[in-house]
Amino acid sequence: MLRFIVRRLLQLIPILLGLSVLLFAWLRALPGGPAQAALGERATPEDIARYNETFGLDQPVLVQYGKFLGRALQLDFGTSSRTGQAVTTEFLERFPGTLELTIFAMVFAIGIGIPLGYLAARRHGSWIDSSSVIGSLLGVAIPVFFLAYLLRLLFAVQLGWLPGSGRQDVRIDATHITNFFVLDGLMTREFDAAWDAVLHLVLPGIALGTIPLAIIVRITRASVLDVVNEDYVRTANAKGLATATVRRRHIIRNALLPVSTTIGLQTGLLLSGAVLTETVFAFGGVGSALRDAIANRDYALLQGFILILAVVYVLVNLLVDISYGLLDPRVRVR
């Protein structure tokens, strides 16, 4: 097991190296380069030269890359040209929000997707089945800004039940320690703040969760359909087990194996930046930071975030594989 984990972590090295080369090359290939981006349209050639000298950009690309790598190894990914903060600091500020949002979205997607997928499979061909297929498609095909608009119109504007954007009500005086607002609220016993932070997750969580929801419904449905035709389900029925036992122990348990992989992959995708959702919900997470960085050509931040997110992505996949091994004794890692 440990070997497996170490092995996977070691595999991360070539990925990160490749990715950093790619990113580095990409940024150097852009017209204008970092200096132009930082100094803006007004920059004279002398300004650019001065800037390049200051930040060592006049050196050969290989030297620059080496320096970049050296710093990156110490978790120093440079400074955001937009906010002037260290990229790592910026990430630590932004990631907790995204993580909270992702967790909420996945809880939403899983909580609804699995039962719905199961139901659709068991009522194969019925209206529940067809409407779950079409409904999940709606989830994928509705552009998020439109969905966000509708959700907010209903729940924030018309009904006034839920906050429509942001991470926490500005009128609540909350203490932030970890930047996980929910966790902070619990830690400081500011339960109203924690609850408020949870409420703020609902609408963006739903908007973000629709795609994983749709995919989970589909995979669950397909997987349950496969499993109910398996011989061991027939065996379980032949043993006269109660329907509930058959469902829980023999159908759902096995049907969830492929679903768990999907859940992991989707979590990885969501973590790497819900750019649009965070933007339309003014949610201070990684996604909106990425978008700001793009809009402002904040290359250091892009570079750093993408590298860190790649690590996150791989780690999530590693977790998926490990949990898959835990769920399925056949592939238990050695």
Partner: protein, 381 residues
């Protein structure tokens, strides 16, 4: 339709000497290291005379298919020689090897799986001709295909059909037809009938015999059903855990099996004859086939052998020796068993003595999570 005149029948067509196939078990931190071997085939010698049939039996996982494939170099042998008509197949370079394949063909166990589902019968049968540049022009090829279909008893209409449209027996006929398209000398049939119903099985067996007669083919037939093997073989080899334990002319083997394993195997085959079934003595073996990755020491069969003796069996590897003319056996006590000087123990006794333990033979395929579960990358959120 005759085989091209073979060189004066000097010696056997196929000779296998000390053939080994070891599959490495790889495991490792960053770079895979080999931590052990599955000894699927572990030193097999055999030879097959022209125009005869060699039957190979043994239990699942004992290495029959691997041996068959290694002979055709579909799996690379680890060691040993495969002399086909005097040429060492194992040392041929890829292109000469490809040409050599024209003379040695294979019929597979799973008739459907071995036919490309996307090819119709015509292109299935023509493919080997094209591959070896045989068959001449179009009309000639068409003629040849018709001959082939005729030989395996399929109507001409079959040409434009696809494998999934045929019944199991017909599919196997197609597989056989394809194998004989290039007029091979040797045909290795890996469990050609075990996927078929008995009545169909009989049809295919008859077909194989008929073809041998007409074309002078040499067969290596692999099967786990002793009755089938006996039915078509001149010489039968019995394999256990990667090695031959007994080899003899079919009749001799069935009349007087010498190796304990052969005896057990024979007594275990159900016979459609209640009288015989009720009367015959059963030799039940305890436990399962040990793992070829970790074979028992000494005589490989000693963990399940009802005749196992305290001496020799556990640590001394028996060699294949000729006990009667052409009758080879690898058992230390073969003479004593034959002459009834040793009596078998019951399966329970053996199990008790051996403290049977069987390693998992189940599949532990590595799961590449990257292969599974790919989904649409809708992540534009």
């Amino acid at each position: 339709m005759t085989t091209e005149p073979t060189s004066p029948a000097s010696g056997p067509l196929l000779q296998v000497q000390g053939l080994q196939v070891h599959f490495p078990i790889r495991r490792g931190l960053f770079v895979d290291r080999t931590v052990g071997h599955v000894r699927a085939v572990d030193g097999v010698d055999l030879s097959i005379d022209r125009g005869t049939t060699y039957g190979l039996v043994g239990e699942s996982g004992c290495g029959k298919s691997t041996l068959g494939r290694a002979i055709l170099r579909l799996t690379e042998p680890t060691a040993g020689k495969v002399l086909f008509d005097g040429t060492d197949v194992a040392s041929l370079k890829p292109e000469p090897m490809r040409h050599m394949r024209r003379r040695m063909q294979m019929v597979f166990q799973d008739p459907l799986g071995s036919l490309d589902p996307r090819q119709d019968v015509e292109s299935l049968l023509a493919e080997p001709l094209h591959a070896h540049g045989l068959g001449g022009d179009k009309p000639a090829i068409a003629r040849r295909l018709r001959e082939l279909l005729d030989a395996v008893g399929l109507p001409e209409a079959a040409l434009r059909r696809y494998p999934h449209e045929f019944s199991g027996g017909q599919r196997q006929r197609i597989g056989i037809a394809r194998a004989i398209t290039v007029e091979p000398d040797l045909l290795i049939a890996d469990e050609p009938v075990s996927a078929l119903d008995v009545s169909v099985q009989a049809q295919v067996l008859n077909l194989l015999e008929e073809l041998q007669e007409r074309l002078g083919l040499t067969y290596l037939v692999i099967a786990h059903d002793l009755a089938v093997v006996r039915h078509i073989s001149d010489v039968v080899g019995v394999m256990y855990l990667g090695s031959l334990v007994e080899q003899a002319p079919a009749d001799a083997l069935y009349e007087a099996p010498l190796h304990p394993y052969t005896r057990a195997l024979m007594s275990a085959v159900p016979v459609p004859d209640p009288v015989l079934e009720d009367s015959r003595e059963r030799i039940l073996l305890s436990g399962d086939l040990p793992s070829p990755a970790n074979p028992p020491s000494g005589c490989r069969f000693h963990t399940r052998c009802p005749w196992r003796q305290e001496t020799r069996c556990d640590d001394e590897v028996p060699v294949l020796r000729e006990l009667a003319p052409l009758h080879l056996v690898s058992c230390h006590w073969a003479e004593d068993i034959r002459d009834g000087r040793l009596l078998p123990k019951s399966a329970d006794e053996v199990a008790a003595i051996q403290g049977v333990s069987v390693g998992p033979t189940g599949a532990d395929q590595p799961v590449d999570s990257m292969i599974g579960g790919v989904d649409e990358p809708v992540e534009f959120r």
